[in-house]
């Protein structure tokens, strides 16, 4: 059963009275105990997707189409007061920047205990006990004494552990991790990802792992969704994506990955950059950087082609009936 399913989601931004589609018809799902990685370069809409699910969009943005279903409950139109009971209780979130994600004037213990009191109704003493247990669980040494420490007394990696502890405090069904290791030292990155894996398995949580690091995807995700310019361009199991990427963007991404078994001089980069939201191409949004652009890519947004295995889908004209030959070319 899927913990999260997103159907045909469109999130729009209104800038200067004009509506732009920041997310275009996104569909994906995360099953219990599964990690779905969302990859793509900066500005592709990964964080916008996370914020749409959380109901934390900035005031200029809104979900204008589609559904977000969490644990069989539709939440895309839920009121703020309903979302306050869902966030932290049913969905936990870990952020990219642990140095600024914690309130500098509250003790870390207090910050972990707060959702326990809010959502589980624990007393002050119970919450404190549970918070210390959580700190131990995320491997913060001397948890009981560090309950009263302030964030500035922690290193980046330790702070990220605190953020993780407060995100999983109420045993959420879904954990959204938005670039959880990007700001950390390489040695700490691995530990944090392993910790997230352990907590996900143990708590049977679904995890939406947002990252731009394909190495992270390979090591820690079950399935992967590739995003580009607000479109979900390809979705497949990790194995399949690495073996046979279908979308030109996914192929380019994988080609830009350094590999020990290849000559480094082959390392490719993708020319150009993600177009800004206000001048997105009308048809396929990858068109300016795509080596296979065709006539109809200019005028029509591509439709989704589903591969043989059902689990593999790609949004590209190359793969819609008769485009197959061109794809090999």
């Amino acid at each position: 059963m899927s913990v999260l399913s997103v159907d045909n989601l469109r999130t729009s931004l209104v800038i200067g009275g004009v509506e732009y589609h920041a997310l275009r018809e996104i569909s994906l799902s995360v099953a219990e105990g599964e990690t779905l990685a969302v990859v793509g370069e900066s500005g592709c809409g990964k964080s916008m997707l996370a914020m749409s699910v959380m109901g934390l969009l900035p005031s200029v943005a809104a979900i204008t189409m589609g559904h977000v279903t969490l644990d069989a409950v539709q939440i895309e139109a839920a009121s703020e007061s309903v979302m306050e009971h869902i966030r932290g209780a049913k969905i936990g979130m870990v952020f990219q920047e642990p140095m600024t994600a914690l309130n500098p004037v509250l003790t870390v213990g207090e910050q972990i205990a707060e959702p326990l009191r809010d959502h589980l109704g624990l007393s002050k003493r119970e919450a404190r006990k549970a918070a210390v247990a959580l700190m131990e669980k995320v491997r913060i040494p001397a948890a009981a004494t560090r309950y009263n420490s302030y964030p500035h007394e922690f290193s980046g990696g330790m702070r990220q552990r605190v953020v993780i502890a407060l995100a999983i405090a109420c045993r959420p069904r879904l954990l959204i991790a938005d670039e959880p290791t990007t700001a950390l030292d390489v040695t700490v990155q691995r530990q944090i990802l392993d910790l997230l894996d352990m907590l996900r398995t143990e708590g049977k949580m679904g995890m939406l792992l947002i990252t731009h690091n394909l190495g992270t995807v390979a090591g820690h995700a079950d399935r992967v969704a590739v995003m580009y310019g607000g479109d979900l361009v390809e979705s497949a199991t990790v194995k399949e994506l690495f073996r046979s990427p279908a979308h030109p963007y996914s192929r380019a991404l994988l080609a830009s990955l350094p590999r020990v078994d290849r000559d480094l001089s082959e390392l490719a980069s993708i020319p150009g950059r993600v177009p800004a939201l206000i001048n997105m191409p009308e048809g396929c949004r990858f068109i300016d950087r795509c080596p296979h652009a065709m006539e109809r890519c200019h005028t029509m947004p591509p439709s989704v082609a589903v591969g043989e295995s059902q689990a593999h889908s790609v949004r590209c004209w190359l793969h819609v009936q008769g485009g197959e030959d061109a794809a090999e070319g």
Partner: protein, 313 residues
């Protein structure tokens, strides 16, 4: 705790010395010979010489300076040149009134200013924000002595709610003392309230955009608590800094308020001492003000350590 308080107190000493020296020099730069003012312009040269001798004004200036400092070190502010009363007791007699007024003014400024600023920030561009902004702009651009006269007119003369003359009520009459304090404190605090509201609003807008507020929202903290606990605690750092700085200004402003409301206090003493060229009293008053301001600054430093856990204790 001692180390806590000790360090800011140590830095007070050079500051105080500088202020005292300035006070000594300033008072002597003010034109006019006190002897002429006290004895009248018909005074004989002998009488003037006797006056100079009695008050130490015939001594060389550096001699006067060291005498001033050594007396001060023994807690002696000298004797008023005019009334022959010890300056220290004259100052201490009215100091509570000024302290009470300043503290009440700061209280009004913070207690009204912070919520106004928070409300404005929450409404951000909405009607409440505009009302607060216009109101605070009014508070900033309206001279305190005008508002003082208006308040007296409306609340004391027309409505009769408060006494017109807030003469010193003894501590044994707390209600009378409170009533005579209310209007002057409100008047003194209004401008500060406007500033505090603006500082709070600006700080709030910044803090509400920060990552840790997003974290708080992501864990489902109710909006009200996000504003009044998570955000406000951080905004208070700016408010404490501002309050510390403005306190000194407010102590200065209290002179005017004391005069308009005819309250006893340092303000009245200052005006009297200036008019009569009472060097020693004036000197003593500058010392009193300086000590107050320096103490307030030390107190602000201490407050900081309580409000911001990142300040090393």
């Amino acid at each position: 705790m001692l180390r806590f308080a000790g360090q800011p107190l140590l830095t007070l000493i050079p500051t105080l010395l500088a202020v005292l020296t300035l006070a000594f020099v300033l008072v002597r730069i003010v034109p006019g010979d006190p002897a002429l003012i006290i004895l009248g312009d018909q005074a004989t040269p002998e009488a003037i010489a006797r006056f100079h001798e009695r008050t130490g004004l015939d001594q060389p200036i550096w001699h006067q300076y060291f005498a001033f400092l050594s007396q001060l070190a023994q807690g002696d502010l000298g004797v008023s040149m005019i009334s022959n009363r010890p300056v220290l007791s004259a100052v201490l007699e009215v100091l509570p009134y000024t302290l009470e007024l300043s503290l009440a003014g700061v209280f009004v400024g913070v207690v009204l200013g912070v919520p106004l600023g928070v409300v404005a920030a929450r409404s951000n561009g909405g009607p409440l924000d505009w009302i607060v902004r216009i109101f605070t702009l009014g508070g900033l651009s309206f001279p305190a002595f005008v508002s003082a006269v208006l308040m007296l007119l409306v609340f004391s003369v027309w409505l009769g709610w408060f006494p017109v003359i807030s003469s010193g009520k003894p501590i044994t009459d707390p209600w009378g003392r409170f009533m005579s304090l209310a209007l002057p404190a409100l008047n003194l605090g209004l401008v500060m309230m406007a500033y505090v509201a603006r500082v709070t609003r600006g700080g709030m807008m910044n803090v509400l955009r920060s990552d840790y507020i997003r974290t708080a929202r992501a864990k489902g903290v109710p909006a009200r608590r996000i504003v009044w606990k998570h955000a406000l605690r951080n905004v208070l750092l700016a408010v404490v800094t501002f309050t510390g700085l403005y306190f000194s200004v407010l102590i200065g402003n209290s002179v005017l308020t004391e005069i308009v409301f005819n309250r006893p206090g340092l303000g009245k003493l200052v005006i009297g001492a200036l008019e009569r060229r009472d060097y020693t009293l004036l000197q003593g008053l500058v010392v009193a003000y300086a000590v107050l301001v320096v103490l307030v600054n030390a107190l602000t430093d201490l407050c900081y350590r309580f409000v911001d856990p990142r300040v090393k204790t």
